[in-house]
Amino acid sequence: MPKSGHPIRTIAVLAAVAAVFAAVAVGAGAAPAKHAGTTISGAGSTFVQPLVSQWIAPLGSAYGYELQYSGVGSGAGVAAITARTVDFGASDAPLTPDQFTACNGCEQIPWALGATSIVYNLSGVKNLLHMDGPTLAQIFMGQITTWNDPAIAKLNPGVSLPSTKITIAHRSDNSGTTFNFTDYLSSVSPSWKSQIGSGVAVNWPVGSGGKGSSGLAAIVSQTPGAIGYVDIAYALHNHLSYFAMKNKSGKFATPGLRGMLSAAQTQVTPNADNSLSIVNPPAKFANAYPISTYTYVIVPLQTSKAADIKKFLFWAVTKGQTYGPKLLFEPLPTPVLVVAEKAIAKIHS
């Protein structure tokens, strides 16, 4: 009896397994039939994610593309495109020479212009406190430790600042926002430049590390007296207070569209690797927000999907830019757009 039972049970199990496989196969077969379009996948910068998310619907109706984007952080985005697990990577920091070599035939193209805001948690104190670069550098070096320090008070006459201890929050992962922020600090503070420098991760003298924009925001919003840095779209979305930053002309600029556009005048022609640095603009750009940045899409020059990628990128740097302003991304200035379009044209199959 048990002997005859075994084959039947085995057959039943095999049949069940086969049925599952068949179902999966049918499902997989059916999927492309339903979405006739091409899938374009990307990963990287959380900074640019709100903008890319806005593109999904219009790209679907314009070209039938299915755009998939994971905001895993700039560092992870560079890793993903280097491994070719996605069609494009996105990073707020230009690639380093080693990363270019590892990516083997990639190019970076500026495709959005945004700003990093310096956020703080001080209950009972208004939004848009004033701050300047040298003071900010001293805070992040651990030289200014309380909120009522004379250096901060001097920038904010008439504001009663608490004696709360300052807690510094920074990113613990490799982050384009960190690059933008430390690039700025290096340009305003010689001692920051010589002792710490700039990069997607640096050797922070003090402070707590949070993973991703969300990890950093969690530290800031839960710690009275905390200070940190996130892109402005993220700060607005999460109702964090942020500073008006003193620029070289002496004006306190907010991380808004006008401030970014003005800052973008700092460098209008991209470098040979298509990167641009627009932190700490010269005094003649009176409205410039000093911690603005371009963010980049990274694509392989040669790809089997070349035609679709080119179509998508052309759309992104032109029509796609119109979705930017309400999320506080300033559309690309014309000279940068020209360079971006030239770079896109180089992609081939």
């Binding site: 590892a102 929050a169 992962d173 990069g199 707590s208 839960q222």
Partner: protein, 329 residues
């Protein structure tokens, strides 16, 4: 049972073909699986050594103890010292906290609790092991860290602040201390459920014999249950230690980061695993990538050492145990 097996065996020659086919395929499948696992371990070790080679060539063995990690171009310097320290302090303290708690849970569930309570509590403790580490990490950021900071850290600091271990409370709730508590929670279910099984495995005659001799429950536990399962407990603790050494995600979320060694556990830090998890993706230079793989190599060596010592302890205690048990009887 035995007679049935015998008749089965005597029948085999008649259906020999099919049976032999079964035997052969079993041999092949099982053998392949075993070989694949061995090859896989070998490949991983080789790949890790190979990936770390540039950093080994550049820094040599001094890398292991150097306290530095600066990925900024032009300032680049890497070393494992502070991460080794962070790994050691978090794992050891987590083990120190988890061991008595786990013993308590295991004793309660195997010896002390009313029968109706055992199944639900056992299930709940084991569910704790099934909570993904990233979820524990999130809870660590949002709930545990701030709670520890405001209630426990300030209390420990005001009472025991003269001990350097309990320095100024971390302002953000992200600290080595938070990481220790998170790790304690993560290794607790493993150690307690293995220990519970061990305690349940102590022969009833021994326990009842001890009680019949007039011992109290505690004396019975101390004199019979613990000695009987000593080797197993040691192995369970080392398995827990292995988990604590390698845990990356949850630790990355709560430890706060930082390349320094200080005695206060309320400061931030990093472990080998958390540093790799935080920095590997998108590392900016080849030397940094190689240095991260070098960290992985160090972690691998430590984990293998923990595993081997667990096996050695089990073997040695088991041998000694057999003799002492005979002596006691």
């Amino acid at each position: 049972m035995t007679t049935l097996d015998l008749t089965e065996a005597t029948r085999r020659p008649f259906t020999g073909r099919r049976v032999r086919f079964g035997d052969v395929s079993l041999q092949v499948v099982a053998g392949t699986a075993a070989a694949a696992a061995t090859v896989l371990v070998g490949l991983i070790v080789w790949k890790v050594i190979d990936g770390a080679r540039p950093a080994i060539a550049h820094y040599g063995i001094a890398f292991v103890t150097r306290i530095a990690w600066n990925p900024v171009l032009g300032h680049e310097v890497y070393g494992a010292g502070s991460f080794l320290f962070g790994t050691a302090i978090t794992s050891l303290f987590a083990l120190l906290l988890a061991a008595p708690l786990a013993m308590g849970i295991a004793l309660f569930l195997s010896e002390l609790s009313p029968r109706w309570l055992r199944a639900p509590v056992t299930a709940l403790v084991e569910t704790l092991a099934a909570v993904p580490s990233v979820v524990i990490g999130l809870w660590g950021i949002l709930v545990l860290g701030p709670a520890l900071r405001t209630h426990i850290e300030s209390w420990l600091h005001s009472g025991l602040g003269f001990i350097p271990l309990f320095g100024t409370p971390s302002p953000a709730g992200a600290s080595i201390f938070t990481a220790i508590i998170v790790l304690t929670i993560m290794i607790l279910p493993i150690v307690s459920s293995i220990s519970r099984e061990l305690f349940l495995g102590v022969p009833h005659e021994l326990k009842e014999g001890a009680l019949a001799l007039g011992t109290t429950r505690w004396e019975m536990v101390k004199g019979v249950v613990f000695p009987y399962s000593r080797g197993g407990i040691a192995a369970a603790l080392i398995l827990g230690l292995g988990r604590a050494l390698g845990e990356a995600i949850a630790v990355t979320q709560v430890i706060g980061g930082g390349v320094f060694i200080h005695w206060s556990i309320f400061d931030g830090g990093d472990t080998l695993a958390s540093k790799i998890a935080a920095s590997y993706q998108g590392s900016s230079t080849n030397l940094q990538t190689a240095s991260l793989v070098y960290l992985a190599l160090i972690l691998l060596v430590f984990s293998l050492a923990a595993n081997l010592s667990a096996q050695l302890i089990v073997r040695r205690v088991a041998r000694k145990h057999g003799i002492t048990r005979g002596g006691h009887a």
